[in-house]
């Protein structure tokens, strides 16, 4: 049995329409008109225990609705969903005890309190035994260097420190699933790496199943093998990152550092993308021209200092996928 089962979930919202102006407001009080929006349109997927999946899509595509359904906040119109055999919206409380949720934009810690007091309160909220609690807390503190932060009121933490504390707070009760909503948003480079590293270890070493929602494609690249893309409430793609790449575009990047700045590279099999100083970005299709042949042709013709081949950045792949589905 899969760890998380989502089967044909449909969720529609009715949005009250407002007319402009004072008359519109009065009209709205008397008779409201509604517009129906399909936030989730037959969404299905399965996650095995210990999977780490990236869940991406433009704003309003249905990402957070999915997380809300899985965490028991929202009841869907139809469809089946189970986490460890529990139906989230029917067993909200036992499901909540089994999952952890982190919102990058909002803290679950108590603003005026020292970090340690929030942790202590969560111990009581989640009914964690005191032995288990201390073990979990110390372990998380060691992994993310939290001890120096224990006595600091949450409002005085930097964003990176706060995120580390929030991650720990969501894990004190040893959930088997962790939902992360933009865990690296707004963080500096060092904090981002620390957070990613922690998530990776959590997943590899403890086998926690992770659903990672993000707009930061570096998160996806660094963390997840499997990527689900949602748009218009539908799963548009569910595959490994490499497969997604291969399906959307075969193209590769050829980056060349020229010895001579004034030079231009011309070859029938490459297209020019950009140039900065003596570095030139080109693009080619390895199906049309073998990479090795192209490289030897170019090195023979031009004076080259350095050269490397890359996959196109994941942002571009996603943006192509969105274009295909007219998501803009």
């Amino acid at each position: 049995m899969p760890h998380i089962l989502v089967d044909n979930i449909v969720k529609t919202f009715r949005i009250a329409q407002r007319r402009p102006g004072l008359w519109g407001a009065l009209h709205g009080v008397l008779r409201r008109e509604y517009r129906t929006i399909k936030a989730l349109d037959r969404v299905s997927f399965e996650l095995e225990p210990g999977e780490l999946v990236g869940y991406i899509g433009p704003n309003g595509a249905g990402k957070s609705t999915t997380v809300k359904v899985l965490s028991g906040i929202l009841v869907p119109d139809s469809g089946r969903c189970e986490i460890d055999g529990r139906i989230p919206w029917r067993n909200r409380i036992s499901n909540a005890a089994n999952i952890g949720v982190v919102f990058g934009q909002r803290t679950q810690l108590w603003w005026d309190l020292p970090v340690i007091e929030s942790f202590d309160l969560l111990r009581d909220i989640y009914r964690i035994g005191s032995g288990e609690y201390l073990r979990a807390r110390d372990e998380l503190a060691a992994l993310m260097d939290l001890e120096p932060l224990y006595d600091v009121p949450v409002r005085q933490l930097s964003l990176g420190q706060r995120m580390r504390c929030d991650l720990a707070a969501a894990l004190l009760h040893a959930p088997s699933v962790l939902f992360l909503d933009e865990p690296t948003i707004g963080l500096d480079a060092v904090s981002k790496l620390a957070v990613r590293d922690f998530i990776k270890r959590l997943n590899r070493e403890r086998g926690v199943t992770v659903v990672l929602t993000t707009h930061d494609m570096d998160d996806i690249e660094a963390l997840s093998d499997r990527v689900m893309v949602i748009g218009h409430g539908r799963i548009l793609s569910d595959s490994t990152l490499d497969d997604l790449r291969a399906r959307v575009t075969r193209e590769r990047r050829l980056i060349i550092d020229l010895l001579d700045e004034g030079q231009a590279i011309e070859d029938p099999d490459v297209t020019f993308i950009s140039r900065s100083g003596n570095r030139v970005h080109l693009q080619f299709d390895p199906d049309r021209v073998p990479t090795a042949a192209l490289i030897s042709r170019i090195t023979a013709k031009y004076a080259i200092k350095d050269l490397f081949v890359e996959n196109p950045p994941i942002e571009e792949i996603i943006s192509r996928l969105y274009d295909e589905h007219e998501l803009r």
């Binding site: 965490s71 909540a96 005890a97 679950q108 202590d120 009581d124």
Partner: protein, 267 residues
């Protein structure tokens, strides 16, 4: 390990500590409450100074009504701030966080804030109640003493029910809350005077629809040992506070309906 009561006391201790961070604000708030409710009572004094009595109710009797309502309401007021903020919590997404925790939303909302400065109101109400008790010739017996305690407890439950109602309404709209305040604060003001002085429709509304009279007027009549001008029996007067408790239980059910609505619409 961490039953609801233990968790609640943890919430309270945290809430107290964060209020103590702003000590001056707490002191001023408490004093402010004491004075504003004090001025309210001076209004009543002035009224009796001018007219002597109110439909055969003496000042001490009205003070007893006033005191018991204020004590019960102050207890609720300390517990129920969270329900005032449901609309705000829903809009900010904080309410979703409560649903993410393996605890009842009602417990979490009550735990959200323990408003200590309401001690001002409590102290003032208790003072007036004490004065009225000493002044009045109450025929003390275990059952009368018990009735006083039950009335305050059921009264606090009833008021909590009203606040839960306000919170519930904000699952649907944030616009009509002023109307709800008429029911709560208006009703509380009204119940500081004996119900018998009001119009029939008003009395009926606050007995049968919103049983405010059941946790104030009727039991107090029995405590004062008066015969009720409205003609109710002693047995009813003793049983009346239970309707306050019933109202509270009913409001919990309605809360669950509101919660179901919220969880299916997400707004």
């Amino acid at each position: 390990m961490a039953n609801p009561l233990a968790l609640y006391s943890h919430y309270v201790s945290i809430s107290l500590r964060s209020q103590m961070q702003y000590r001056v604000s707490f002191l001023l708030g408490t004093l402010g409450q004491l004075f504003s409710t004090g001025v309210e009572f001076i209004g009543i004094l002035a009224l009796f100074d001018r007219f002597g009595s109110l439909n055969q109710w003496t000042l001490a009797e009205v003070a007893f009504f006033y005191g018991i309502v204020n004590v019960a309401f102050a207890v609720t007021d300390m517990l129920s701030r969270g329900f005032d903020h449901v609309g705000q919590l829903v809009r900010s997404g904080e309410f979703d966080r409560m649903l993410l925790r393996p605890r009842s939303t009602v417990l979490q909302l009550i735990g959200q804030e323990f408003t200590l400065r309401r001690l001002g109101r409590f102290g003032q109400g208790a003072g007036v109640l004490l004065w009225a008790t000493l002044y009045l010739d109450i025929a003390w017996s275990p059952s009368v003493a018990a009735l006083i305690v039950i009335t305050v407890c059921c009264g606090a439950c009833f008021f909590l029910g009203l606040f839960i109602n306000i919170g519930t309404v904000s699952f649907w709209t944030t616009e009509t809350l002023e109307l709800m305040n008429v029911l709560t604060y208006g009703g509380i003001e009204a119940s500081k005077y004996p119900l018998a002085i009001y119009h029939t429709w008003f009395r009926r509304f606050f007995t049968m629809v919103i049983p405010m009279g059941c946790v104030t007027y009727f039991p107090v009549v029995a405590i004062l040992g008066r015969s009720d001008p409205l003609g109710t029996s002693l047995a009813f007067q003793y049983a009346a506070p239970l309707f306050g408790l019933l109202y509270f239980i009913l409001s919990l059910f309605i809360w669950r309906l509101g919660l179901r609505h919220y969880r299916s619409t997400g707004s």
